[in-house]
Symmetry: C2
Subunit: 279 residues, 2 copies
């Protein structure tokens, strides 16, 4: 497995990799969710590149950029075991040189959900993803369903800007109790970790109601809120039942929907989602 | 010479074209300025694609989108004579489908000059150029020095977003009396056409002073303003002496500089520029 930090080196090493090439963009501190993306890419592509970059422009000033967990040695060992061809670990200085001033912005889709709670977050995401795509030139790029809105926003960017890249979204990988895997789970203390399963419990309950025939969005929303408010350590940021394509909030009858939520468990903000109905 | 309108067709035809490929993005109504870009591309590249697209998002509501001159048959005949391989003529509907919502924005450089007079103009330019680049996948793209700020902004976008494309800027092509060629020159009546040479006269006078040893930006600025204000049909939008890279306005001594101006001749807004000093 090769590793590289500069874009020039990356481009040289990219030349010797066979197409179709799959890119798995990550912020490191890898867990089984990331590795499932790598495995999917390995199955579908001739070569696989993983990028590890804790992208500062998607964190706000009050967020956890400086404390975001990192363990590069462990990450590289895991990726080596998966048979990844090349790991790109750019520096902040090379990605954002002093005179950097170009942004890729997806407008409407980023006004909801995470975009409402985290202004400028998606501007940072789409800008860095565009940079990763242009530097690596993959045929496919792999994202996790856990960051549902991110995948939807990146797909919109790819479509709007005519990028010749297929976005592949892979299922959320969960802990045995249902908690969605996330690098940020490492922030949770023992008590918080137990409480954190409440996100999954609320979503699973909603999915259960839907499977049993419930279609009223307000009753499903209330069922989720009830479970969440019964957890003393949980502080709700948002609970949403949204159209899968436009992310408009659904009132009344649900045909298919993205159920998603952001909940603080102690100081740690977690997100999770499920899809109701057939896509 | 092949022509195509849809992106899917373009991509198929692109596959049979040899690299390096040069792209010449145009809004049609071609003149010798455009053709000089095509010739430069022909000299440096194995294949040449020209796009013709009057991009609505770079016009403001009060500008000349609907009256912008068009003559596709003539354009195609000219490009055929130049030995262009493929002409892409996308429709507005395909470039901007109803749900379109992604923008590429270069910030600081677009706050000056044309960007100050035409808010959102460059957002439209950089977005459509990113789309053209992603659809055509050229190794080189050719722009005219006449739109000096445009070239500088596109170069910044390419650098910031890591696009694997070389931006080639070709000299301004002028009429015998010095007027910079522009599709918008067709708006000028006989009297206005005669008056329009005043832009070049002012720039040439400034270049002459500089060549004779004048380095004081205020005196050079005044020399240009004097010539322009002596032309009754000319209404000055801006006259600028700016840093070639940052586009900051230069006060005091000039080492090298972009002299640029926008001047209305009757109802028609014209721009022109020269570079002082060695780049």
């Amino acid at each position: 497995m090769k590793t590289t930090s500069t874009i020039n080196q990356l481009r040289k090493k990219r030349e010797s990799l066979t197409d179709p090439l799959g890119l798995v963009p990550t912020m490191g501190y890898l867990h089984d969710g990331h590795l499932s993306l790598v495995r999917q890419a390995k199955m579908e592509c001739e070569s696989v590149v993983v990028s590890i970059f804790v992208n500062p422009t998607q964190f706000s000033a009050t967020e956890d950029l400086s404390s975001y967990p990192r363990d590069l040695d462990r990450d590289l060992e895991l990726l080596k075991q998966e048979g990844v061809d090349l790991v790109w670990i750019p520096t902040v200085e090379e990605m954002y040189p002093p005179n950097f001033q170009t942004w890729v912005t997806v407008e409407r889709l980023t006004s909801f959900l995470e975009g409402r709670s985290r202004p400028e977050h998606f501007r940072g995401v789409t800008t860095v993803v565009a940079k990763l795509f242009n530097a690596v030139l993959p045929q496919r790029a792999y994202f996790g369903q856990k960051d549902a809105q991110q995948s939807i926003v990146v797909r919109q960017m790819v479509r709007d800007l005519n990028m010749p890249i297929e976005i592949v979204v892979c299922p959320t990988v969960r802990e045995p109790d249902g908690l969605a895997m996330s690098s940020r789970n490492s922030y949770l203390n023992h008590e918080e970790r137990k409480a954190a399963v409440v996100l999954y419990r609320a979503l699973a309950q909603a999915a259960h109601h839907f499977a049993e025939g419930e279609r009223d969005s307000e009753r499903i929303r209330q069922a989720m809120l009830e479970i969440l408010t019964n957890e003393p350590l949980a502080e709700i940021d948002y609970v949403s039942i949204a159209d899968l394509e436009t992310l408009d909030e659904i009132q009344g009858e649900i045909d298919k929907a993205l159920l998603s939520m952001a909940v603080k468990i102690g100081p740690t903000r977690l997100i999770d989602n499920v899809i109701l109905g057939n896509r």
